[in-house]
């Protein structure tokens, strides 16, 4: 993940990049290789306590699945 002066937070990938918006940068930051998937979701649910926890869970799963498809992350 990198901070671009004019684009804001971006996730740099082989010959491409993803502009991260909303909670995107925080989710990427939490995928640090030590947290479990459940741990990432629980952390976000506590940080965004106003939002529906089930919605957070669904959106995080969808976001991470899209990152996996782009080969930006591995589930272990």
């Amino acid at each position: 993940m990198s901070q671009s002066a004019d684009l804001g937070p971006v996730l740099l990938l082989p010959e491409s990049m993803l502009k991260l918006t909303g909670p995107g940068p925080r989710i990427v930051e939490l995928c640090d290789g030590t947290r479990t998937l459940a741990g990432v979701i629980a952390t976000l649910q506590s940080e965004f306590s106003d939002a529906d926890p089930e919605m957070i869970r669904r959106e995080v799963l969808a976001f991470l699945a899209s990152l996996e498809e782009r080969r930006a992350l591995d589930f272990k």
């Binding site: 990198s2 671009s4 002066a5 004019d6 971006v10 740099l12 990938l13 082989p14 010959e15 990049m17 699945a65 996996e68 498809e69 782009r70 080969r71």
Partner: protein
Amino acid sequence: MNFVPRALIAEVTHRCPLRCVYCSNPLEMRSRSEELTTAEWQRVFGEAAALGVLQLHLTGGEPLARPDAEQLVKAGRAAGLYVNLITSGIGLADARLEALVAAGLDHVQLSFQDAEQPQADEIAGTRAHAAKLDLAQRIRKHRIAFTMNIVVHRQNLGRLPEMIALAEQLQVDKLEVANVQYYGWAFENRARLLPTRDQVRETIAIVDAARERLKGRMRIDCVLPDYYARFPKACMGGWGQGLMLIDPAGVVLPCHAARVIPGLKFDDVRSKPLRWIWDESASFQRFRGEDWMQEPCRSCDRRTRDFGGCRCQAMMYTGDPDATDPVCSLAPQRGLIDAVIAEAAASPNWVYRINPANQSAPLPTSSF
């Protein structure tokens, strides 16, 4: 209009242990004595990052022919860039691979010439395939992004399923199935390299099926020959709009082939700041915007998407760098491309290049 470069292609040397029949380096190569030093590259990476560049592609020639490749990786990372090493991998021992990863390398792109050794070695003009297979397994042990690049053409496209299987076996994150682009040395050999129309159709079907099957495990990028396209490629995302290339001696170019365009003076980072070259120099301004365009581009709806296609290809075929890219079905000179397609049925022998950059200074065998 304000254009921000996002990627820097750094050709850190033209020296190379391979002599591929489709080499994209210019016909006139730089010698070792002309190459930018470590400190000069370091400064240039900083200037690039300040301009907005996010990605650094270390390439060549063979970038590992430079004994300071690890320092270049480190300098790229220190400038905040995502560092990609584009390599043939020849002679890359474990200790050096580890040093490159420790220096902060984000991504390795390893080139293959085929799935089968004899054919791969014929294309490379040297025995390289076995070493690449060995290296691929060692790269996979590291936590870095790993792309396998196979340059495809008429002679090897029949083995595309085997190439995909090899990429799967080597567990790469991304496979690039890249048709030869007919510039540099490849232009000389285009009659032997251009696939048939049936091969192109089959490629699309095979790649689509593999993408579906490998979803989530491996991405596949596929570059088709633009000679068969209805419309031209948006070459480099538009001239001087998002990308720049710096050659071993520090000359800054909008693309690999830009030197074929006559009358342009390309500035170098030893005498001018990179920001000035990007923003102000005549060569980068030359095809920005639409003022240079002729018909049919000038009034075409696609001009904002493909920017009239490739200026170098227009030059190489029509002698006019402002002409519509001749691959375009709307181009008045499309017949020139159709003639090449027809001519490609006959197969002359390969023309191997000689690498003059190697002759004055052989590769350092101890560190490489």
